[in-house]
C-alpha cells in the first residue's frame, strides 16, 4: 500500500507538465504527495505540514528544483536531507556515570519499558563493564516484578525488589541506597506504564523523578504509535523532563513516523532503538536510517530480526 515516494514524486511532476516545464504548481503538488506520505507513515499531520512548508522554502529558495532535469529526485533528496537533520544529525549516548548512576525508565503501558530495562542492563555490563542493579518499581501490573526478575536472570544482572511495598518512591530510594553500599555502578529503575491523562500516575512518576534525581531519564515509545505520539511525548516531557527517547518494536514494518513527531515536538534526542524481544536486540539510533524508513525508502534489511 505504500508506494515509493520517489515514484510518486516523479509522477506528480510529470502529470502536470506536458512539456517537462517545471513550475511552482508542480512543486506544490509534490509537497502534497510528500505530506501524504508522511501522514501515512504516522507523522503527526501538523508536523507534516510544517515540515513540507520548510521543504518548499528550501526547494524554491535554491531554484534547483525548477531547473532540475529530474525534479522528483531532487525533491526526494531535499526531503531526505531535511528529515535526517531533523532526526538529530548524529546519535547521542547516555549518561551512566555516577555513584551510582541512576537511570529512570518511563512511558505508556506496553511500550517496552521492562524489556528495554533488561537490554540496557546487558548493554552497560557488556559494553561498559559496569555493575548494574535493576529495580522493580512497577507495583501494579500483575507479575511485573516476576517479569523483571526473569529478565535480570537472563542478562546476569542483580535485581532489587520489595514485593510487599506499594510505594515506588520508597523502593527506588532504597534500591539506590543498597546500590551505593554494594558498589553498583548503575541503577536502572523500571516503572509501571501510565497514560498521560492519568493524573495520579503522572504525579507518581514525577515524584519518583524528584526523589531520586536520575542522571538519565528515558522515555520509551512504541514505534507503531500514531497521531497521539505528539501529545504523549509532550505531557511526559512537561512532567519529567526526560533526557532521551527509546524507540521500540522497530523490527516490524511500521514506518515509525512517531519518531519524527516526538523529536519535532520535544526536541529530545532518540538514543536507542529496540528491535526485538530478545535481550541483545538493542541498537543505537541512526538518524539517516530512520529518515529513510519514514519516507518508505529505508533499507528494511538493516532492521530485520537477528538470528
Amino acid at each position: 500500500m505504500f508506494d515509493n515516494l520517489s515514484d510518486r514524486l516523479e509522477g506528480a511532476f510529470k502529470s502536470l507538465t506536458g512539456d517537462n516545464k517545471i513550475t511552482e504548481i508542480n512543486v506544490a503538488t509534490s509537497l502534497k504527495e510528500i505530506r501524504r506520505a508522511l501522514v501515512a507513515a504516522d507523522v503527526n499531520y501538523k508536523i507534516a505540514k510544517e515540515f513540507t512548508d520548510k521543504v518548499k522554502e528550501k526547494a524554491l529558495g535554491t531554484e534547483n528544483v525548477l531547473k532540475a532535469v529530474k525534479p522528483g529526485q531532487l525533491m526526494v533528496k531535499i526531503v531526505q536531507d531535511e528529515l535526517t537533520e531533523l532526526m538529530g544529525g548524529q546519535s547521542v549516548g547516555i549518561n551512566a556515570k555516577g555513584d551510582p548512576a541512576v537511570i529512570l525508565i518511563a512511558g505508556l503501558q506496553g511500550s517496552g519499558k521492562t524489556t528495554f530495562s533488561g537490554k540496557l542492563a546487558k548493554f552497560l555490563q557488556e559494553k561498559r563493564k559496569q555493575k548494574v542493579l535493576l529495580t522493580a518499581c512497577d507495583v501494579y501490573r500483575p507479575a511485573a516484578i516476576d517479569q523483571l526478575t526473569v529478565l535480570a536472570g537472563q542478562v546476569g544482572a542483580d535485581i532489587y525488589k520489595e514485593p510487599e511495598n506499594k510505594n515506588p518512591v520508597e523502593i527506588a530510594l532504597k534500591a539506590i541506597e543498597h546500590a551505593r553500599q554494594k558498589k553498583y555502578d548503575v541503577v536502572i529503575v523500571d516503572t509501571a506504564g501510565r497514560l498521560s491523562v492519568d493524573e495520579k500516575m503522572m504525579q507518581e512518576i514525577s515524584d519518583v523523578r524528584q526523589a531520586i534525581s536520575p542522571h538519565e531519564t528515558l522515555f520509551v515509545v512504541d514505534s507503531m504509535t500514531g497521531q497521539d505520539a505528539v501529545n504523549t511525548a509532550k505531557v511526559f516531557n512537561d512532567r519529567i523532563d526526560y533526557d532521551g527517547v527509546v524507540l521500540t518494536k522497530l523490527d516490524g514494518d511500521t514506518r515509525g513516523g512517531a519518531a519524527l513527531s516526538v523529536k519535532y515536538t520535544v526536541g529530545k534526542p532518540i538514543k536507542f532503538v529496540s528491535t526485538g524481544e530478545k535481550m541483545d536486540a538493542l541498537d543505537v539510533f541512526h538518524p539517516d536510517r530512520m529518515a529513510q524508513r519514514i519516507l518508505g525508502m529505508g533499507d528494511i534489511i538493516s532492521f530485520v530480526e537477528r538470528a
Binding site: 507479575a143 512504541d222 523490527d251 514506518r255
Partner: protein, 300 residues
C-alpha cells in the same frame, strides 16, 4: 485533555459563523479525521461522501454537518459490522466455546482476557484460561494472577513449553471439566515475523484438532494508540488465523483509535470489545454510535 478540547474547538470555530459547509469546513474535518488515526484512504472516502451530500442538498448547513458526519461514519462501520451486541455473549451455542486471542506485542491481550473472563464468569459461565504464551518473561504468572482475580479455572504447562500443546490441552481440559468457555492467551508477535505467524497458525490448527469447529472466535487485540500499522497487523493476522473479531484497547488514553474505522471498512471484521483501563471492570462491549461520538467529543 487540553489538546483534545483545543482540537475540537478548532473544528468548532471553522464551523461556527458559517451557514454552509464549504471547503474550509471540509479541510478542518479532514484534519480531525487524520488526527484520530483514521488514515488517508478512509478519510478521503468519508470526506467524499460528505461532499456528495453537500452537493446533493445545497441547503445543507453546518449544524446539520455534525449529524451527517456521525451518520456517515456509523454507516461506514455498519457496512461491515451490522450488529452491535448489547452484552457479553459467547461466540457459539456449542460448549465449550473456544476463544483464541492474538495480536502484536504489548497491546493488551492478557489483560483483555482477564477482563473478558470476569464478564463471562459474572454471567454464570464456567471459564478456563489457557496459558499458551510460554515465551514472554512471566507471561504464565501474569495470566495466572488474572485467573485468580477472576476466580476462574487456569490451565498451564509452565514456561517454554509448546504453545500448540497448551492450546490443545486447554480445550481438552475445558471439555473434561464442563467449562462453558476457554480463552487461550498467545504470545505477542509482530505480524512480519514469518516463523512466529506460522506458529500461530499451528496453535489454531491444534485447537481445531482438539475440537472440530473451534476456535469459534479469533480475537485480534489492537492498541488504540497504534497508527496506520494496525492495518498491516489486521491483514497479516487475518491471513494467519482467520480473525473474526477485534478488541480495541487503551481507549482511556488520548488516542482515539480511529484506525479501527479503516480496519472495519477494509477487513469486514467487527469490533466486539473496547478496553478502557487496566482494572478488571474496564472492558466494554463495542457500540458504533458511542465510539463515533467519543471520536468527535461533544464540542462540535
Amino acid at each position: 485533555q487540553k489538546t483534545k478540547e483545543g482540537f475540537f474547538n478548532k473544528l468548532g470555530r471553522a464551523v461556527a459563523g458559517k451557514d454552509r459547509v464549504d471547503e474550509e469546513v471540509l479541510d478542518e474535518l479532514e484534519n480531525v479525521l487524520i488526527a484520530s488515526d483514521v488514515g488517508l484512504d478512509t478519510t478521503i472516502k468519508i470526506i467524499e461522501r460528505i461532499e456528495a451530500r453537500v452537493a446533493q442538498d445545497r441547503y445543507l448547513n453546518t449544524s446539520e454537518l455534525n449529524h451527517i458526519l456521525r451518520d456517515e461514519i456509523v454507516n461506514l462501520l455498519a457496512e461491515q459490522n451490522n450488529e452491535d451486541f448489547d452484552d457479553y455473549v459467547l461466540p457459539t451455542t456449542e460448549r465449550p466455546a473456544i476463544i483464541l486471542v492474538v495480536g502484536v506485542n504489548g497491546v493488551g491481550k492478557t489483560t483483555t482476557i482477564g477482563k473478558l473472563a470476569h464478564q463471562f464468569q459474572q454471567r454464570g459461565h464456567k471459564v478456563v484460561l489457557g496459558a499458551a504464551d510460554t515465551f514472554r518473561a512471566a507471561a504464565v504468572d501474569q495470566l495466572g494472577i488474572w485467573a485468580q482475580r477472576v476466580g476462574c479455572e487456569f490451565y498451564s504447562k509452565g514456561m517454554n513449553t509448546d504453545p500448540a500443546a497448551v492450546a490443545f490441552e486447554t480445550v481438552q481440559y475445558a471439555k473434561k471439566n464442563d467449562c462453558s468457555v476457554a480463552i487461550i492467551d498467545t504470545a505477542g508477535r509482530l505480524h512480519t515475523k514469518f516463523n512466529l505467524m506460522k506458529e500461530l497458525s499451528k496453535i489454531k490448527r491444534s485447537v481445531t484438532k482438539a475440537m472440530p469447529g473451534a476456535p469459534h472466535q479469533v480475537l485480534l487485540v489492537l492498541d488504540a494508540t497504534t497508527g496506520q500499522n494496525a492495518i498491516e497487523q489486521a491483514k497479516a493476522f487475518t491471513e494467519a488465523t482467520e480473525v473474526n473479531s477485534l478488541a480495541l484497547t487503551k481507549l482511556d488514553g488520548t488516542a482515539k483509535g480511529g484506525v479501527a474505522i479503516g480496519i472495519t471498512d477494509q477487513f469486514q471484521v467487527p469490533i466486539r470489545y473496547i478496553g478502557v483501563g487496566e482494572g478488571i471492570e474496564h472492558l466494554q462491549v463495542f457500540n458504533k454510535r458511542a465510539f463515533v461520538d467519543s471520536l468527535f467529543g461533544d464540542t462540535f
